[in-house]
């Protein structure tokens, strides 16, 4: 009786376990199941060991997609992080009508469904009727993301930055709001420049939320699917075939469930590895920093 009473607390987290099991562990195990078998039809399956993994890992097109993906995520982070911080710094710091308007405006892109975003940008960049496309063409430049790989990339990155920079800005803004006013007063009294205030007060105090922003943005951009699928479908050619698009091509297009399963696991591990690396680098930067 006593033991049962003491352990009653576990009951409360049981629902969470169930949810996690259904949402993450069960699907993952299914994928693991696929990745080590060759499936011909219902009930017809053969154990193939690491065969699919070997096949996927030596696939030249997967390597290309991986580098493409890394380049895309890197560029997007390089733009979004500083831009988001800059926007947060420029936002009105006092609560009031102005701040509310800015906050809501910023949050708008985050509220739009992802596939709708792709559609919006298809129209936006159309050379004949799109505001952006038509404007650029009117200036005498040719712009067509269905014809030029570079243009496709520019469009995708613009879309991604437009869509997700507000998230970085909102997180950074929350970080800035949590800095007690005394810090700014002290810095003023010490005669600190705006840059010093940013470097020695705002940035260190925002570090926690920025780490979260960085991880979220990396994961999301690395897993990007819906937008390029709608906008470019991976083309022109293979120029915007990112990992996820390639994966879907294998799984749904060619119905190679085995290699797709192996691919998924490798994909998952890559994301996990990068997140871990980011986290470690930021942690050690905190401990080792000596200015």
């Amino acid at each position: 009786m006593k033991k049962w009473q003491d352990n009653k607390g576990w009951l409360f987290i049981l629902p969470v376990f169930l949810i996690v099991a259904f949402s993450a562990i069960v699907p993952l195990m299914t994928v693991v199941n696929y990745s080590i078998q060759d499936i011909f039809g219902p009930g017809e399956r053969v154990f193939v060991g690491t065969e699919w993994f070997r096949e996927v890992l030596t696939d030249q097109r997967l390597h290309e997609a991986l580098w493409r993906q890394l380049l895309f995520s890197g560029l997007v982070l390089l733009i979004e992080m500083p831009l988001g911080i800059a926007i947060a710094l420029l936002m009105p710091s006092k609560k009031g009508f102005g701040a509310s308007v800015v906050l809501v405006t910023l949050a708008l892109p985050l509220l739009i469904p992802w596939n709708v975003i792709g559609t919006i940008w298809i129209i936006f960049t159309r050379p004949d009727i799109g505001l952006m496309g038509a404007t650029i063409n009117a200036l005498g430049l040719t712009f067509d993301h269905t014809a030029s790989g570079l243009h496709a990339w520019i469009t995708l990155m613009l879309m991604e930055v437009w869509h997700w920079t507000p998230l970085v800005a909102l997180l950074a803004y929350a970080g800035l709001q949590s800095i007690p006013p005394a810090y700014y007063q002290a810095a003023k009294i010490d005669g600190a420049s705006a840059w010093s205030i940013f470097r020695y007060i705002q940035l260190p105090k925002m570090k926690g939320v920025l780490t979260i922003a960085l991880l979220l943005r990396f994961m999301d951009s690395f897993l990007i699917y819906a937008e390029p699928f709608v906008l470019t479908g991976g083309g022109p050619g293979n120029t915007t075939t990112f990992l996820s698009i390639y994966l879907v091509k294998i799984a749904v297009g060619q119905f190679d469930l085995g290699p797709a399963g192996a691919f998924s696991i490798i994909y998952f591990l890559i994301v996990l590895l990068f997140c871990y690396l980011f986290y470690q680098v930021l942690q050690s930067a905190e401990e080792g920093e000596q200015s």
Partner: protein, 366 residues
């Protein structure tokens, strides 16, 4: 270092203020001496922090001017006023070492490296921070952090004043008095103008040469600890300083004596004359320490009834009922505690009379 002139300062946080009681600070008109150690003492909401912010430049007063020596600084921001401030909780640059924290104000002002190095080491030595110079500020104890905050003010030789906003709030009680010692030592060594805001009477009285007692937006008294204790200018000072606070009993004058109920208490001639001339509600004030209480009838004593005794270890507080008014008297540990009836004497030299809450005294100034 500088003298600070507060010229007819008043402040309200409301945009359009008509009535006096809407002002957070009512008329403040004072000169604060160069090199003085001042404490701004009062309960929360008395306006002490408002006044501090006006001196530091974080607030511009609704009316009046602030001058440091001959310079009018009323509209100058904090960084142009040459003041330093230590806040309630340590404000540090977490990512920097202690050395860099201390050097920061000098670097921002473009001093050369040798000077900075020498100056930082000097200050670190005074504050006993030398062992930590190369450590990161973030990992240190609250007391060391507050010393660093103070040090950032001390490194600048041009500071007009150092302001403290309840700096010991986050310090452990055992370390508090060490830090207070350090502050006193620094004041005596460097002769800086220090202004210290607190609601704690021990901190104020221990730290400052002059205590500025604030109450509802007024400065009710500026004085040494002794003056505040012996001659409280206002009932509030009598109540707020000392524990327990001063006893107050409503009274009237009759035949040059103070009349309470049926008792006539003798006072000196000057006091009697002034009290007769005074207008408003008259009250007698006497410190529990100076109210003599005895268990046997003494010549000229008044009878009272004992209502309670509090043993406080080193002494006892006896509460008596005198002519329907509660009075507290303090007696030493070994004195006999009266039972039932007690006999009170009011030493003439310790009787203070108040008219409309203000001490009745000879008009010298004000």
């Amino acid at each position: 270092m500088a003298q600070i002139f507060l010229d007819e300062i008043a402040h309200s946080y409301l945009p359009e203020t008509q009535k006096e009681d809407e002002y957070a600070l009512k008329r403040i008109h004072n000169i604060w001496e160069d090199g003085g150690a001042y404490a701004l003492l009062g309960p929360s909401g008395c306006g002490k922090t408002t006044l501090l912010n006006i001196i530091s430049g974080l607030l511009v007063p609704s009316s009046g001017r602030v001058r440091f020596d001959d310079t009018d600084v009323t509209d100058l921001p904090p960084e142009k006023r040459n003041i330093a401030q230590v806040f309630q909780f340590p404000v540090l640059y977490d990512t920097m070492t202690v050395f860099n924290n201390l050097a920061f104000p000098l670097r921002n002002r473009g001093f050369d490296k040798d000077y900075i190095d020498r100056r930082v080491r000097e200050v670190a030595q005074i504050l006993e921070l030398e062992p930590f110079l190369n450590k990161k500020a973030a990992g240190l104890g609250a007391d060391a952090k507050q010393k660093i905050s103070l040090g950032r003010g001390l490194v600048r030789e041009d500071v007009a004043a150092i302001l403290f906003d309840e700096p010991l709030t986050v310090i452990d009680p055992q370390l508090k008095w060490q830090l207070r010692c350090k502050l006193k030592e620094i004041h005596e060594k460097l002769k800086l103008t220090l202004i210290y805001v607190t609601h704690d009477q021990v901190e104020a009285l221990t730290f400052a040469d002059k205590i500025v007692v604030m109450y509802e937006g007024w400065i009710v008294q500026i004085g040494t600890p002794q003056e505040l204790f012996e001659y409280p200018n206002h009932k509030f000072v009598g109540y707020f300083i000392g524990s327990p606070g001063m006893n107050f009993i409503p009274c009237s004058m009759e035949d040059g004596k103070v009349k309470i109920g049926n008792s006539l208490i003798p006072v000196d001639e000057t006091t009697a004359r002034l009290a007769n001339a005074a207008e408003g509600k008259l009250e007698l004030g006497i410190r529990p320490l100076y109210l003599n209480i005895s268990d046997t009838p003494v010549d000229g004593a008044f009878e009272a009834r004992v209502k309670g005794v509090e043993d406080q270890g080193s002494h006892r507080i006896v509460t008596v009922d005198f002519e329907g008014h509660p009075l507290k008297a303090r007696i030493a540990e070994n004195d006999t505690v009266p039972q039932g009836k007690a006999y009170l004497t009011f030493p003439i030299e310790w009787i203070r009379l108040f008219a409309d809450e203000h001490l009745i005294k000879e008009n010298k100034e004000n």
